[in-house]
């Protein structure tokens, strides 16, 4: 609590200020009034005394006694004397004064007053003594009583002597008592303040002591305690509910997490049933799967002994049957019965006699009924609205998991089929290649032996036909090779034989030689421009040569006049190989088609040669070695094919390193 703003301190300080103000008022005003009253009283007493004395002097019997009083009075105290009507002392305790004029001791104004009136009193400020007098006309005397200043103000002196100490003592005591009283009054308020503060800090168990409080504060205190009580209940109630919900959601998430990683539908179901029963502490959990064709809900998994017996007995519902499970399947809604004895929809299972609450939740995936999750509890009112929500979510997860698992199973089967099909294809291709190459060995070579006249004379016509036979055989062989290549490329099973130090210029020479052979009947010039100081590159030499040969053969095939230029040059970290022809060109719409397998441009089709595999194979062969293949063409002018190959191995896309040192000669 901040002292500066303390209510108690403020009240105390105000109280002290009030006490001082009233003290000061007393000193200034009351004191004067009191003192005046005291003086007046003194004078009045003196006047009484004077009167008594005057009466006594008038009476002959008491005359002597009165005179004695006057004569024998103590000089230090009141001064009584008697004067004659002409103003001379007659009786005075001081004998020497007798017959002396009163005027000698008192001012004329006072003397005239005393002598001029029957009786009275004088309290003249300038003449500090107070005087009372009374005439005794029968004897021509005046009794005068003079109250000396000291005596007249005796009360004042006394009062003044004592009062300041008393006033301040009183003020001090008042302050102490007032402060203490204030403090005591304020204390319960401070207690309340402290309690409020503690509640604010979260100590909801804080209460105030009612017994010590005053009536007004007691009400405040009671209200406060009630409020704190409600706050505490609300808070802890809320906390409990949140904790409960968090726990349920955590459990549901736990179940979900476990099942979504499961890829076997039967195991998903078994997992869910067991986990749900254990984590939510349920009497029984079953999962029914929907058979859409037969409109049947077949038990897939049930927990406990009842579950085993139900499974053994082939437990199932028709979707039109009585019971919460079929009802939930029909309505595709969660069906809850929190007191099965009162529920007409409930259909008792003789194996589950302890069931008091049941919750059947449909397992839906994209609106399709996968099955029903059935939960049973031994307690009445087991399933709250929150529970139902959680179970609906869980059932959705289960539906997804089951669907995923089923899809995965289908996928596995499909994958196995595909793998098998692929295996069959590969085996077929390998054996086809083998089986075709063996007769081609005879066809190609016999025709060559015969046409070379090695076996005897042959005429030109025979030679021409035999050469066509050889060429056809070789063409068939290249088709077989292409089909094998594309099959391997498409199944990603093409293996490269990477070697370093390949001299592309040398390789190009052999390719150009083949090109010349293809052009021997045409008016087409084939020239090569090989850059100087070309670095050797790493790659699959046979495949690189295959690319170059394919592009050069294509150019030779499609160019009927003009020229073909092949070039090799270094471009940064790449070697650029290009083949430029003056052929018919390739229309832009065909730029992509020609790289598709078994497709050719219209020109290619008209030309009636080739498998339509050469370019796709070449492109892929360049790419799997980390290179690129592309073209530029203008219809009617010609085409240039480019191949860029990286110099180093590090840039290979598929560095399938096989032992080098091999030599594939053509």
């Amino acid at each position: 609590m901040k002292v500066r703003n303390s209510l108690a301190l403020k009240v105390t300080l105000w109280f002290l200020l009030l006490a001082f103000l009233s003290g000061a008022f007393m000193v200034v005003f009351v004191r004067r009034a009191v003192l005046e009253a005291l003086r007046v009283q003194t004078i009045s007493q003196s006047a009484d005394y004077t009167h008594q004395l005057a009466l006594a002097l008038a009476d002959s019997e008491s005359q002597q006694a009165a005179e004695n009083i006057i004569l024998h009075q103590n000089l230090d105290h009141q001064r009584l004397f008697v004067v004659s009507e002409n103003g001379r002392y007659i009786l005075h305790p001081d004998i020497t004064k007798v017959n002396h004029l009163l005027l000698q001791d008192y001012p004329s104004k006072v003397v005239n007053e005393i002598l001029g009136n029957a009786q009275g009193s004088l309290d003249v400020a300038s003449f500090s003594n107070a005087v009372t007098y009374e005439a005794v006309p029968s004897r021509g005397l005046v009794v005068v009583s003079v109250i000396p200043e000291a005596e007249a103000n005796q009360a004042i002196a006394y009062f003044e002597g004592q009062s300041y100490i008393q006033i301040f003592t009183a003020l001090f005591i008042m302050a102490i008592v007032g402060g203490a009283a204030t403090w005591i009054t304020i204390l319960p308020i401070r207690q309340l303040t402290k309690a409020v503060q503690e509640i604010g800090e979260g100590k909801l168990e804080t209460r105030v002591e009612i017994e010590d409080l005053d009536a007004e504060l007691e009400i405040l205190g009671m209200s406060f305690n009630r409020m704190a009580e409600q706050l505490q209940q609300l808070f802890y109630g809320l906390e409990d509910r949140v904790a409960e919900r968090v726990r349920d959601l955590t459990l549901a998430a736990q179940v979900s997490r476990q099942i979504t990683t499961e890829l076997d539908a039967a195991r998903v179901v078994a997992h869910v049933a067991a986990l749900t029963a254990s984590v939510f502490e349920l009497y029984h959990v079953s999962i029914f799967l929907h058979d859409e064709a037969d409109q049947i809900l077949k038990l897939s998994q049930g927990t406990g002994k009842a579950g085993e017996e139900m499974a053994a007995g082939g437990k199932q519902f028709n979707i039109r049957d009585r019971g919460l499970v079929p009802l939930s399947a029909r309505t595709q809604e969660a069906i809850v019965s929190n007191d099965v004895a009162q529920d007409a929809n409930y259909f008792q299972n003789p194996l589950l006699l302890e069931t008091r609450s049941e919750l059947a939740v449909p397992m839906l995936f994209q609106g399709n009924l996968i099955g029903v999750l059935d939960l049973q509890a031994e307690q009445i009112n087991r399933f709250t609205a929150d529970d139902i929500k959680i179970m609906v979510t869980l059932a959705e997860q289960v539906a997804i998991a089951i669907t995923n698992a089923r899809l995965f199973e289908e996928l596995q089967v499909a994958l196995k089929h595909a793998e098998r099909a692929n295996q069959v294809k590969s085996t077929f291709l390998a054996s086809m290649s083998h089986e075709l190459r063996t007769p081609l060995n005879a066809i190609i070579n016999f025709s060559q032996f015969i046409s070379s006249a090695m076996l005897g004379p042959v005429n030109d016509e025979q030679i021409a036909l035999l050469q066509k036979l050889t060429a056809s055989g070789k063409h068939l062989l290249s088709l077989i090779n292409d089909v094998l290549d594309i099959s391997k490329i498409e199944s990603d099973s093409l293996q490269l034989f990477i070697e370093e130090g390949i001299n592309l210029a040398e390789e190009l020479d052999t390719v150009v030689a083949s090109g010349h052979a293809l052009l021997k009947d045409k008016e087409v010039e084939l020239q090569s421009r090989i850059g100087t100081n070309l670095p050797p590159i790493a790659g699959d030499k046979r495949r690189i040569r295959q690319i170059m040969l394919n592009l050069v053969s294509n150019a030779c095939k499609f160019t009927d006049s003009g020229q073909i230029t092949v070039s090799l040059s270094q471009q940064g970290h790449e070697i650029l190989f290009s083949v430029t022809d003056t052929g018919p060109g390739i229309a832009p719409k065909d730029h992509e088609i020609i790289f598709e397998t078994f497709r050719q441009s219209e020109t290619g089709i008209r030309h009636g040669e080739g498998s339509g595999l050469g370019l796709p194979i070449s492109k892929r062969l360049a790419e799997i070695q980390g290179g690129r293949l592309w073209l530029e063409s203008e219809v009617g002018k010609g085409t240039t094919f480019y191949v860029a190959l990286p110099l180093g191995l590090s840039e290979l896309a598929q560095p399938t390193l096989l032992e080098g040192g091999s030599s594939h000669e053509h």
């Binding site: 390998a430 290649s433 083998h434 089986e435 075709l436 190459r437 063996t438 007769p439 081609l440 060995n441 005879a442 066809i443 190609i444 070579n445 016999f446 060559q448 032996f449 070379s452 090695m454 076996l455 055989g473 062989l477 094998l484 391997k488 093409l494 293996q495 490269l496 034989f497 046979r542 096989l658 032992e659 040192g661 091999s662 030599s663 594939h664 000669e665 053509h666």
Partner: protein, 135 residues
């Protein structure tokens, strides 16, 4: 070559044997060629003929023993372990060629035979170079 090399070809396909025979004896002019029609009793046949081949061509897909089995027999035989053994095969996929290399063949010739290259192939193989002509 000072002396004419001695060749052995084991091949169960008749046409292939004819191609090899025409190639070696008619086209290239060699005379020392022996051919077996199958792989049965391989070593016995060789011993019976007292063959000392310099270059042995083996078909791969044969019965009862395939080319690999014959290679193993040759390599483990005192008299033949120095002979050059070349596979002549129609199975020319990369992985198949890899198997040949691993098995220890001294080279390979693909079917159909590239007769234009065979003279050079024989020379280089006999000189100890391992040549894989599978294009």
């Amino acid at each position: 070559m000072n002396t004419e090399p001695v060749f052995l070809y084991v091949e169960d396909d008749e046409f292939s044997r004819t191609v090899m025979e025409l190639l070696l004896t008619r086209a290239l002019g060699f005379t020392q060629l022996t051919m077996f029609e199958d792989s049965s009793n391989f070593l016995k046949k060789m011993e019976a003929l007292s063959l000392k081949p310099d270059l042995i061509f083996l078909d791969i897909h044969m019965k009862p023993d395939d080319g690999f089995a014959l290679l193993t027999l040759l390599r483990s035989h005192e008299s033949y372990c120095k002979a050059k053994v070349v596979a002549v095969t129609a199975s020319v996929m990369n992985e198949e060629v890899e198997l040949l290399k691993e098995a220890g063949f001294d080279g390979a010739l693909a079917k159909p035979l590239d007769i234009g290259f065979c003279s050079e192939f024989i020379k280089r193989t006999i000189n100890g170079e391992r040549v894989w002509h599978i294009g």
